[in-house]
Each structure stands twice: as structure tokens, then as C-alpha cells.
């Protein structure tokens, strides 16, 4: 087990103290968001990082949420038993196995030898439970160092976790800030209060609208891999292979299951737990290859939605205008996916030679490996000029892919692979959003034209008035005033009216043309 952990440390993102701290924050925040928004609760998350021992680079990370909590008896398993998971039901979720949390605990204890502190109360629970837990790496089971329970006087629900780990705050600081802000963009309904050793961040809730929760669903036979299958099998004692397929997978009826098993060369009546590891591998391969499954369903996906993306991008990026598009579900290799994009322009976005790209997979911000991500390729190859964007420009692009199985480019899971169907959807989504941007910029151009005409004359007024005053010995201020008046007469608008015109651009036109686009 210890070896397994060491082997997979890098996969999980714990290969150095900087990355480990970042990953810890990620896991805890993502769990908190999963425990709240998925269940219709507006997330409120408190995050604290303290330096515990500077010399040894020990920090503590505390995360508390107002989610559905964990039933008292389950807490040790959730934190202390690797491969224990309640997440293989196929809702689109942030974490993949719930494995990340275990990684945090394992890493923490292996660097500081301290337990993880957990306090939690499930919804409607009359008790609050507190534990100190470590993982026994030999038996892969939790070691409970302490356990307390006490009455839940104020009916609190949620989970609070504190871990002590070796982590580099200074090196991870920027990424953590970045991550929290990007999370706020895609989850503007969340309230996140962060306090670090030298930094405080308060990301306010911007809306009370939640994205629609993904529905529960059974996995599609094409989408499981060996580890998932192992888990599912472990939970299906007593079933035959035929029953197992019918009960555990989506849209697999008796007929389909029988035909498949015959084609794949399996005995439908064998006990599912009797399968050898090699047979399990073969089964997975056959399920992936089989062409007779029904198409995967997409109600399990939970895109954020254009409205929330626009709220988040405007609030965090300070953009002048945001145009978001959520595409219809598509699929690749049997896995449904949805691409959403938001194009944010102007305002406080600093101008740059290439668009700033913010990538998300299943609502998780992807901060590393941008160069390997297909989204970067799509954004760079996109013909922005066609949409009235000239670089350097104040432009940020958000690309969010939600799927039951995100195709990562590498084990690091920070970049999305170049899957043709996904690439195509990204291009189409960008095109749809950019069209709206173009309309906005054209309008702006026209309004700005008048304003620019004014400026091209007004900029000389002071100089002219000054010089004419000296030559003619007449009053400079009077001359300047009259010159301004002459300009207003020529343009046909007073300066006040001009300014009102130009500033009011951000508000009205977008709603108007969204209505007509319907």
C-alpha cells in the first residue's frame, strides 16, 4: 500500500511540497463544493492556511463547508480507507474516485505524521462528530486516534477538515489565489473566505442561482475502467454476471446483456465475484469494444450555464462584456460531454497579445499544462480578426468541458487531450460566442465614432485658445468655451449626451439582441 501510494503520488499531484499544498486545497474545496451545490445548498466555504513550522515547511490547511456532511459512522471510511467510495454512481462530479481526499491524508501523515482532524454533521443530524484519523497503510484501514460526539444544538450541517502537511506556502501562494478566483468564476453562487499567512481573499456570493444538479445515473458500459469495475463488483456480491450487467449499468436490459455476453464469450450465469482479475480486464475491454450498446445519456452532466458564466466572469475578471454559450450534448467514444465557453472582453482585463485562457473540466479549474491542452490550440488557431478583435486585446476565454469521463492528455490530469469531437465542439462554441462579441464591438465602434470625432477636435481647443488669446489679446477662457460650443454645434450633441451614449452601451443592446436571436 505504501508503495502504491508512492507510485501514484505523482498521478495524484503530490510530487513536491508546492504542488502538494495546491492539490490539498483543491481536493478540500472541490469536496466542499460537491457536498453543497450538488444538493441544492448555496456553498459557504472557509479556508485557512497557517504556517505551523517554518523550518520544516509544515503548514496546516483547514476547510469548512455547509454541505450535507458525512454520517458519523462513515467518517473513518471516507478518510481512512483507500478505494472506499460512494461516487461510482455516474453523476458528473468533480473528483474522480473520491480518491483525492485519501491522497491528502496519506501525504499529510507521511510528511508530518499527524492525523487528519474531521468534524462533521449530516443533514438533520442531532449530533456532531469529531475524529482524529490516520491511515494504516498495511491493512488499508483507518486508525481512529480520537473520537468525540456532542449534541448539534444549532442544527449545523457540513464538514470541517484540518490536515498538517509539508507544503511550500510561498511557492504555492499564487496558484492557490488563481485557483480560488477561477473557482469563483465558475461558481459565482459560492462564498469563499480564505485566510492565508500573508493574504486574505473574500470571494463573495454573486448570485443565488445554482446550476441544475446532475441527476444520479448508472454508468454506461463503455465508460468504466478496471478499477471502477472492481469496485462495482465488490458491491455486487451474490449476483450473476447477467444480473450484474442489468442492475449496474445504464440501459442494459436482459436481451442486450445476453447478446453481449455471448458475443464476448462469458458465461451469463457465473457469479460476478468469481471473476479473476484477467477476466475482469477482458470484460472491460469487451464492453468498450461492443457496438450494440444504447447511446449514453447526457442528463447526468451539469454544465454551469451561460448566465452563471457571465455573472462569474464579469465579477471576477471585471470584464466590460461577457458572452457565454452552452453547446448541446455530444459524445465521444460512448461518453457524453458538453462544451461551454464564455468570451470576456474589455473592462479590467489587461491587454495582451494572446487571449487569456481559463480552462475547466467538470467545473474544476485546470491551472497547469496549458500548452498541452487542446483548448489552447483551439483558441490560438481561432480567427479572432474575423470577429473584430485586434491584438493586443483585453480578451479572456473560458472553456469548460463537462463529461462523465474527461479525456486527459496525461496522468497529471491538468490538460484535456486532442479528442476530435471535443475539439470540434470547442471551435463551434467559440464561434457562437465570438459572433455575439462581434455584434457588440460593431455597435461600440459606431458609438465610439461620434465620440472620437469629438475628441479629434476637442484635443486642440486648449492649444488654439491659448495661442489666439496671445495674438489677439482676447480672453483665453472665453475663446476655449466658444470653441467647445462650436464643436458641439458641429457634431450635433453636447458632450454630456455623447458620454451618456457611449457609457450606456454595456447595458441595453445585449439583452435586446438576445431576445431577437431566439
Amino acid at each position: 500500500m505504501a508503495e502504491w501510494f508512492r507510485r501514484n503520488r505523482e498521478l495524484a499531484g503530490f510530487h513536491n511540497p508546492t504542488r502538494a499544498l495546491y492539490q490539498t486545497v483543491r481536493e478540500l474545496v472541490e469536496n466542499s463544493l460537491d457536498a453543497t451545490e450538488t444538493y441544492g445548498i448555496l456553498p459557504t466555504i472557509y479556508l485557512r492556511i497557517n504556517i505551523e513550522d517554518e523550518q520544516k515547511s509544515w503548514v496546516s490547511v483547514y476547510a469548512e463547508d455547509n454541505g450535507i456532511g458525512i454520517p458519523g459512522a462513515e467518517i473513518p471510511n471516507v478518510f481512512g480507507r483507500v478505494f472506499y467510495s460512494s461516487k461510482y454512481k455516474i453523476k458528473q462530479h468533480r473528483g474522480v474516485f473520491g480518491l483525492g481526499l485519501k491522497m491528502v491524508v496519506l501525504y499529510a501523515q507521511s510528511t508530518t505524521n499527524k492525523p487528519v482532524y474531521v468534524r462533521s454533521a449530516a443533514l438533520k443530524s442531532d449530533k456532531i462528530y469529531e475524529y482524529q484519523i490516520m491511515i494504516d497503510t498495511n491493512s488499508n484501514s483507518p486508525i481512529i486516534l480520537d473520537r468525540k460526539e456532542y449534541p448539534n444544538k444549532y442544527r449545523w450541517h457540513g464538514t470541517a477538515v484540518k490536515v498538517y502537511l509539508e507544503g511550500s506556502w510561498l511557492a504555492a501562494k499564487k496558484r492557490i489565489e488563481d485557483y480560488l478566483k477561477r473557482t469563483a468564476i465558475i461558481a459565482p453562487y459560492a462564498e469563499i473566505a480564505f485566510k492565508g499567512p500573508d493574504m486574505e481573499l473574500w470571494l463573495k456570493r454573486r448570485t443565488t442561482k445554482l446550476p441544475p444538479a446532475p441527476k444520479e445515473g448508472l454508468p454506461h458500459p463503455k465508460s468504466v475502467d478496471v478499477d471502477t469495475l472492481k469496485q462495482m463488483v465488490a458491491e455486487s456480491r451474490g449476483m450473476t454476471l447477467l444480473e450484474f450487467l442489468m442492475e449496474s449499468f445504464d440501459a442494459v436490459g436482459e436481451g442486450t446483456a445476453k447478446v453481449f455476453l455471448e458475443w464476448a464469450g462469458f458465461n451469463p450465469n457465473m457469479k460476478v465475484t468469481a471473476m479473476t482479475p484477467e477476466e475482469m480486464v477482458k470484460l472491460v475491454e469487451k464492453m468498450k469494444q461492443y457496438g450494440g450498446w444504447r447511446r449514453p445519456r447526457s442528463e447526468w452532466l451539469s454544465p454551469v450555464g451561460a448566465e452563471l458564466l457571465e455573472i462569474g466572469a464579469k465579477a471576477i475578471l471585471g470584464a466590460e462584456a461577457v458572452f457565454a454559450v452552452t453547446r448541446k450534448p455530444e459524445s465521444y467514444g460512448g461518453h457524453p460531454f458538453i462544451v461551454e465557453t464564455a468570451v470576456a472582453w474589455g473592462g479590467q482585463i489587461p491587454p495582451s497579445d494572446k487571449p487569456v485562457l481559463l480552462r475547466y473540466a467538470n467545473k474544476i479549474p485546470l491551472l497547469y499544462d496549458e500548452g498541452a491542452d487542446v483548448a489552447r490550440k483551439v483558441v490560438d488557431e481561432f480567427n479572432w480578426q474575423n470577429y473584430k478583435v485586434k491584438f493586443p486585446a483585453s480578451l479572456a476565454v473560458i472553456i469548460h468541458v463537462c463529461s462523465t469521463k474527461i479525456p486527459y492528455a496525461s496522468a497529471g490530469k491538468e490538460a484535456i487531450a486532442e479528442v476530435p469531437e471535443i475539439e470540434k465542439e470547442m471551435r463551434l462554441a467559440l464561434r457562437d460566442a465570438a459572433k455575439k462579441l462581434r455584434l457588440y464591438l460593431s455597435r461600440k465602434e459606431k458609438e465610439m465614432e461620434m465620440f472620437n470625432r469629438y475628441v479629434s477636435l476637442a484635443k486642440y481647443v486648449d492649444e488654439i485658445a491659448h495661442n489666439l488669446a496671445i495674438t489677439s489679446r482676447l480672453d483665453k477662457d472665453k475663446l476655449a468655451k466658444h470653441l467647445h460650443k462650436l464643436i458641439e454645434m458641429k457634431i450635433g450633441l453636447t458632450v454630456e449626451e455623447l458620454v451618456k451614449h457611449t457609457l450606456s452601451l454595456s447595458a441595453a443592446p445585449q439583452e435586446a439582441e438576445e431576445a431577437t436571436a431566439q
Binding site: F451, R453, Y454, V455, S456, L457, A458, K459, Y460, D462, E463, I464, N467, L468, A469, I470, T471, S472, L474, K478, L479, H482, L483, K485, L486, I487, M489, K490, V495, L498, V499, T502, L503
Partner: protein, 367 residues
Amino acid sequence: MTTRAEFLKRLESWGVKLAKDVLELKEPVMEIPARTLSNTIWDEKARMLKLGPEKMHRRFLDMKEARRFMQTVLMLRLIVEAIREDVYPTIRDLYYNGKHTISFKDPLSRVHRENTWDEQSESNAVIEDIEVATNVLREEMGVSADVKGKIVGPIVVRSQGYELDASKFGETALSLPVNVDGLEIVKVEAAYVLVVEKDAIFQRLVREKYWSQENAILVTAKGMPDRATRRFVRRLNEEYKLPVYVLTDGDPYGWYIYSVYKSGSIKLSYESERLATPDAKFLGLTATDIDAYKISDNYVIAANDRDVKRAQELLRYPWFQKPEWTREVNLFLKKKKKVEIEALSTHGLKFLHDYLKDKIRGKKFID
């Protein structure tokens, strides 16, 4: 020095008119005679270029004209102030005095920065605009320019009380002053004036004492002549009845320089009466000279597109439409060959002198 009071008045009243229009909420418009080819008239009788009646209207409320308007108003003030303060700036001084950055913060709080002018050509142009618009010459304003002209020869002048004998400058030369009208000519004992386009040739002729053998006054303006040099040549011709001969390279550029000395320029056609020397004659080099003086092919250069274009323009100028010039320019266009004065060395370095003497004594010049 003459006072500039009356000129100051003219400049000020031009400015006052613009200011008063503004105060009456009338769009201020500057009426400036157009110094374009189409408004340049060839006066056959006077044998010089004159300015036509066309006027440009420079308006402030026109986006394309606003900058020029601002520049003109600025320059007007600089000149007016100079006269009021009794100083005599050069055009370069005015350029530097007026050059600064305008900074404007618009109602959206964006800042726009722009220089009043960037190149001296811009400030020079508005000075000329003011000259023609107010009918006050630069010299009358007291504004001077870089002087390029040099002379050597049997002439004595007096400047600021000092007597200067242009025949006693050895291998150096006497520089013409900015205000040639203020130069007193004491004595002239020359037979003719030889105007040379290029400084290198001028210096050769000085060193080889051509001027003293020929009793000639040598003049050069190192290329396209400035006003002072043109004025001086005219004075020599007008006041002392000296023949004026011009020597340039054998290409359209050189031929145009000759026409500027003789008939005036398009840009300064309003100054022709003071600056043009209608009696000037052209010695060479002509297109015909190439064969006539057997200049070898080694010294002949192929004409490029710019030369050809310029030649075609010359053909269109009314003051070039004389039979000899038409012949020369057409020959140039046909042969597409040009020569520099130095090409005469084909027959040895002394040949330049022989050439000049041959042309002058044999009256082999073009009008």
C-alpha cells in the same frame, strides 16, 4: 533695421479676425492662397511664375484640417511674440520653440497625447502659409532660415560695417548672410556670374582659380537654392546688369534647379518678383552635350523611373515649353541617359574650364 510694426499689425489682425469669429460662434476659417501647381501661373511677359487666385480654406471644424489649423495658429503666435519682443528667430528656432506635446483627457478619462509638430517640414509649411495668407514675407517678419549660399570672385560687400572682398578668400568662400537685402554691395568688377549646382564643382573652380582667369563671380547654393542665394543672384543681374550662367548636372533635377533660379518655384511663386532672374541662361549639361562633347559611355548613367517621371513633369510646365527645352527633355526621355558635371573629366581634368569657355564665348546656351 526696419521696424516690423506694420507687419506686426497685419499678422495680429489676421489672428484677431479668427478670434472674433470664434467669439461670435462662427466657424473660424483661414483663407490661404493655394501653393499648388494648378494655382501657379506662368507669366510670359514677365517671364516668371506667379501665384494664382485660388484659395485654400483651412477650417478648424474639419477633422482632416484641425491639426494644421492648430499648427498655423501656434506659429502665428510665435512670430507675433518674436516681433513684440524684438527678436529675430530662424525657422529652426521657431520649430523648436513651438514643438511640445499636447495632452488631452477626454470625458471618458482616456488621455490622448500628440506633438504640435514632429518634423521641421511641418512648421516650415505653416510659416509659408502665413506668409501668403497675410501677405507678409518671411524677411519682413524678421524670420530667417539657414543660409546655404557661398560666393567667390571680384566683388566687395559690406556687412555690419566690415568690408569683405570675395576675391581674397583663398580656397575658402564668403557665405551669404540671411538678409541679402541688407548686404551693401560696394564694388563689382566681374564680367559675369556663374551659378554652380554642386559644391564640389564650386570648390574645384575656386582652387583652380577659374574665377580670376575669367573675372567671374562664382555662386553655389549646394543644390536647390535657398531664398537668400536666389535674391543675391537676382540683385547682381538687376543692379549690375551682369549676365548669369547656370551649370548643373545633366538630369531633370538639375534642369529644374536652373528654372528655379530663372523663373521661380511653385512653392514660392509669390516671391518670384524678388527672387527670379529671368535673364539667366543655361550652359549645361544638356542631353545634347553627351554626344556633342563626346562623353564616353563610362561616365554616362542610366536614368531611373524617378528621373523619367520628373522629366515628364517638366514637359508639362508651361515655362519649359520652349523649343530648346522640349528638344532636350525629349532627347533625355528617348536616350534615358543622364550625366554629372564630373563626366567632363572624360577628356581630362582641365576640360571643365574649356567646356565652360567654349559655351560662354560661343554663346552656346539655352534660354
